[in-house]
């Protein structure tokens, strides 16, 4: 009897505790659902999405002031590979004086930054308030699928984005093209991409002076090489083949498609494996005699233009830029602007992205330079450069889904070619 009483008391006590806990939980949930205040970073981004610029600024300012009051050392960390973000940060501080001295730019190289993001994502820890990264596959498979990086797209009169450039939000688009010093070899040295295999065409000669950064040391070039095997490249290469050799392409059983064949012949014909696009573009001034064709970012022209004594930029030719090339002119790839779900200042992150994608912000970071294209299509490239839509038509465009599915096979093939 005594034992039965004890058991009964225990059961009752357990039920009471359980009920209280359940009530507490319900009460919390009710509080959350009735509250209009977003609490998580995702909720704050969703709220920011509906705000006007003034409202967003007010929210960001209040957020920053509260954070600084709680911890005077609080800063807004902006992590990126491109130094353009540093300039945007400086201009942002000027525009929003309450943020002055609080925006810290951290230069982060992709392959060195990925372990940092991975570690932060695994531990669900703070890493930065704003992240701008380049590796599409890493972004898609490791960050977005894991829900660690979140996207904010500004809206309003000044903003217009093409389909496929939001969520995840593209910040800036870049291109890599074939550049050469045209003073002796002429503007039209390269007219068909098959010339780069070294084989002579019907009316054009094969070229043996391409300089490329090894895809083993440069991820973007690895993606470019992989994209050469894509259906889009196959279409382009087949048409260019007919034009160059004057006959239809007949499939070679040694290759999976024309892209693989082109890749193999192109790789074998590369005469120089340069180590730095920047140095090689600067050195174009010395390559008048052999007209070396340097595959590098069009944006690197800023380094060429930065030289104190240089021939005119008109002495340079670039595939798709001021010289037409059949096949493809180069490679187009993106940098995305994102917010970690552990960000401490999410409203400021949204305001920062909004500013970066505005005309004023873009000009502060990348204005007046070739080879930088804002995802905001209202912002035009500088005079003399092509609109992004044109580049999309003339270049191979990074396709993360294709790269993901083809990587295994294509990188084996590429390593086989490079290892010969």
């Amino acid at each position: 009897m005594k034992n039965t009483k004890k058991v009964l008391a225990l059961v009752l006590a357990f039920i009471m505790v359980f009920s209280l806990a359940a009530c507490g939980g319900k009460s919390n949930n009710q509080n959350n659902s009735s509250s209009a205040e977003p609490t998580t970073v995702a909720e704050k981004i969703a709220a920011a999405q509906k705000m006007s610029e003034a409202e967003l600024e007010a929210a960001a300012k209040a957020e920053m002031e509260a954070a600084v009051a709680a911890d005077a050392k609080t800063v807004f960390n902006a992590d990126s590979l491109t130094s353009g973000v540093k300039k945007v940060a400086a201009a942002f501080e000027k525009k929003y004086p309450w943020a002055e001295g609080k925006i810290v730019y951290n230069s982060r190289k992709g392959s060195e930054y990925q372990p940092v993001l991975d570690a932060a994502a695994k531990a669900d820890q703070y890493v930065a308030d704003f992240v701008m990264i380049q590796d599409a596959a890493f972004l898609k498979f490791n960050m977005l699928d894991a829900g660690f990086l979140l996207s904010y797209t500004p809206s309003g009169d000044g903003f217009k984005f093409n389909e496929g450039t939001t969520n995840p939000q593209v910040g800036v688009t870049f291109n890599k093209v074939f550049l050469w010093n045209n003073t002796k070899v002429g503007k039209d040295q390269l007219k068909n991409v098959w010339q780069l295999t070294g084989a002579d065409g019907v009316s054009l000669k094969g070229l043996h002076n391409a300089s490329v950064q090894s895809p083993l040391g440069e991820d973007i070039n690895m993606n470019f090489f992989i994209m050469m095997t894509s259906p889009d490249a196959v279409k382009r290469l087949t048409a260019a083949y007919k034009s160059y050799f004057g006959k239809d392409y007949v499939a070679d059983p040694n290759y999976k498609n024309i892209g693989y064949q082109f890749l193999a012949e192109f790789a074998k014909n590369i005469q120089y494996w340069h180590k730095s696009d920047t140095s090689e573009v600067k050195a174009l001034v010395n390559y008048a005699d052999d007209g070396r064709i340097v595959f590098a970012g069009l944006a690197k022209l800023k380094d060429y233009m930065g030289l104190e004594s240089k021939p005119s930029v008109a002495d340079l030719s670039g595939a798709g830029w001021n010289a037409d090339v059949e096949g493809f002119s180069g490679f187009v790839y993106n940098m995305w602007t994102l917010i970690p779900k552990t960000a401490k200042l999410p409203y400021t992150s949204c305001l920062f992205i909004r500013y970066l994608l505005s005309e004023e912000g873009f000009k502060a970071g990348w204005g007046g330079q070739y080879g930088y294209y804002s995802a905001n299509v209202n912002i035009k490239p500088i005079d003399g450069d092509q609109p992004l839509d044109n580049w999309h038509k003339t270049c191979l465009v990074e396709d993360v889904d294709y790269i993901g599915s083809a990587y295994s096979d294509a990188q084996r093939f590429i390593k086989q070619q490079l290892g010969q």
Binding site: S83, K86, N106, D303, Q411, Q420
Partner: protein, 610 residues
């Protein structure tokens, strides 16, 4: 029962009454925690799916975190597109051969110079000894860059190099790019290392041994073979081990000197370049870890051989306290000729790269003096592409000076920690030579050297994001800890070599006099082998000052250390400024070395006897 407990208690007490045992136990615990963790992570990474990207690559429904043998199988055996052969076996074989050539060059060049400096009456010793260590102070790619700048020529469409512009000679492409230049650049870079280790031993070697052999009418060659070589063998093997491990995993030199086309026959893709490519891609991280493990296995084999040699040898003690006399071999008429040849060679490989750093920092376009500019040194205007005024002339940049200050502080702390750890480990290993514990401590202390810097840094990065350890994130202590462990192998090898030379009688005499252990260390053992021990401090200092890969993931920002600033300048295309910083680092290290020399009378070159 009680007696048994008491006796085992006494045994433990007796065991721990010996400092060598205490040191061994403490270090085995520290090293297990600090070294086994990254090692285990590396091994685990090679048999699991590392992220969603890799899961997609592996296919077959694999998920992040799943166990898999795919990475090993694919890299070692896959025949599709000759993948295993092209991506692994071929680069591995070529890289191993390149590392062996580099070892031979380093040991022969460094060893010969060390012998001339320590055992002969060669003139200009001071100059040769001082200048010879310069290439080791420079980053390894500096030698590669100099090699290219010197030998490149217009016949191979690489632009005019120094040799062609001075003599008109155009060397073949295989002398400019590819396998052989890589081996030479690495060998020349590590020759000072061989010089330091071998020279330290030669300098302290009892001259009576060689003199006794001479009295017994042994030929010079026989003396070298039967007396000198066996004595320097531990240092020789340590050198081979360190140079081989460094060379086979060197990324920058093969990356820099592989500009040849595939069809030229001089296209050389090293295993380290393959490893970097695999690790950097989210699709193939696991395969990159496999390469790292295989590279470690290579070094473990040499390490085992090393242990066998040092474990077997019975009485190569050369510092007995009985003779400090060194008799120098008289070179006779060859004295001046040898000196001139050595001065020219040493000056060429040590000073010319510095000159090329200086010229690169002064020209907008490499080698084009019409683009001469001092702006990367003294301009107070921001360079093109910079903001916030931080990329101004390096002599005016407060960011750079602060970073340099932090680097110096870090290097001093790392050198102190690593050097002291190395000295203590050396003591424990020498005292307990032949015991399993000593062997284990010695071997594990070497492991950090074998783990690629980036992987090592990545493990500690993950640790700093783990709950309970977040205080480490971006902290100076994290950099210090990682640096001390990573550079401990230099100090432990030097410490062990030096301690093995010391006769037990010296310490025994002090023990009989009742001198406590710490006093024996600081007043007896350290002063006798000061030059070798100081090398154990200076080597981590130099390495830490120019280290980049290890700290790049762990530094709070790019402004933290001078090398991260350098990398940022290089990344943003400011090569002139990065060359200027390189020169600044080298000059700074030389100044420190000079200061150490003035204050303590010891330095790397002095240690060898210059």
């Amino acid at each position: 029962m009680k007696t048994k407990t008491k006796s085992s208690g006494n045994r433990i007490k007796a065991y721990f009454s010996k400092p060598a045992n205490v040191i061994s136990v403490i270090f085995i615990v520290i090293l297990f925690a600090a070294v086994i963790l990254p090692l285990f992570t590396l091994l685990l990474g090679s048999v699991t799916i590392n992220g969603n990207q890799e899961a997609m690559y592996v296919g077959g429904g694999a998920k992040n975190g799943d166990f898999t043998s795919h990475h090993w199988w694919e890299l070692l055996f896959s025949k599709e597109y000759d993948y295993a052969k092209k991506a692994f076996w071929q680069p591995l074989g070529q890289s191993a051969l390149m590392a062996l050539y580099a070892c031979a060059i380093a040991v022969i060049f460094g060893g010969v110079v060390a012998w001339f400096i320590t055992r002969s009456d060669l003139p200009f010793k001071k100059f040769i000894s001082t200048v010879f260590v310069f290439p080791y102070i420079m980053p390894s790619w500096a030698m590669a860059m100099f090699w290219e700048n010197f030998f490149k020529n217009t016949q191979i469409n690489a632009g005019m190099g120094i040799l062609q512009s001075v003599t008109g000679i155009c060397v073949p492409e295989s002398m400019v790019y590819g396998f052989a230049p890589c081996a030479w650049a690495l060998g020349l870079h590590y020759a000072p290392f061989a010089y330091i280790l071998i020279g330290g031993i030669l300098r302290n070697m009892d001259a009576n041994l060689e003199e006794a052999a001479t009295v017994l009418k042994a030929s010079r060659f026989k003396i070298l073979r039967k007396v000198t070589l066996p004595i320097v063998m531990p240092a020789l093997i340590s050198t081979v081990l360190l140079v081989f491990s460094s060379s086979i995993s060197s990324f920058t030199v093969p990356f820099f000197l592989n500009k040849s086309s595939i069809t030229s026959g001089n296209n050389f893709i090293s295993i380290s370049v393959q490893m970097r490519s695999l690790v950097n891609s989210g699709f193939t991280k696991g395969q990159g870890y496999v390469v790292a493990i295989v590279l470690m296995l290579f070094s473990i084999i040499i390490l085992t051989l090393n242990s066998k040699v040092t474990g077997k040898r019975k009485s190569f003690t050369t510092v007995t306290g009985k003779s400090g006399q060194v008799s120098l071999v008289k070179l006779g008429k060859a004295r001046v000729i040898v000196a001139i040849v050595l001065v020219i060679i040493v000056a060429f490989f040590a000073i010319m790269p510095l000159v090329s750093f200086a010229t690169e920092s002064l020209c907008e376009i490499s080698g084009d003096w019409s683009t001469f500019s001092l702006k990367y040194w003294i301009s107070d205007e921001p360079f093109e592409g910079s903001a916030k005024g931080d990329t101004i002339g390096i002599l005016r940049s407060t960011i750079l000076w602060k970073a340099l200050g932090r680097s110096v502080l870090l290097s001093i702390c790392v050198a102190f920690a690593a050097g002291t750890f190395g000295l203590l480990i050396g003591y424990a290993v020498a005292k307990k030579r032949g015991s399993k514990l000593a062997g284990m401590v010695s071997n594990i202390a070497f492991f950090p050297y074998l783990i690629p810097s980036m992987s090592f840094g990545a493990v500690y990065l993950a640790l700093s994001y783990t709950k309970g350890f977040t205080w480490l994130d971006g902290s100076f202590f994290l950099l210090l800890m990682v640096g001390a462990i990573k550079f401990m192998p230099f100090a432990s090898r030097t410490g062990t070599s030096a301690m093995l030379q010391l006769s037990g009688e010296i310490e025994e005499a002090a023990v009989i006099m009742g001198i406590p252990w710490w006093k024996r260390m600081t007043k007896v053992l350290f002063p006798i082998q000061k030059s070798s021990f100081m090398s154990g401090y200076l080597l981590p200092f130099i390495s830490c000052m120019r280290e980049m890969s290890l700290f790049v993931l762990l530094a709070a920002s790019y402004t933290t250390l001078v090398t991260t600033v350098l990398q940022e300048y290089s990344r943003t295309g400011l090569n002139q400024a990065s060359n200027a910083i390189n020169l600044l680092i080298i000059i700074f290290v030389l100044v420190i070395q000079f200061a150490v020399n003035k204050l303590t009378g010891a330095s790397i070159d002095k240690g060898v006897g210059g």
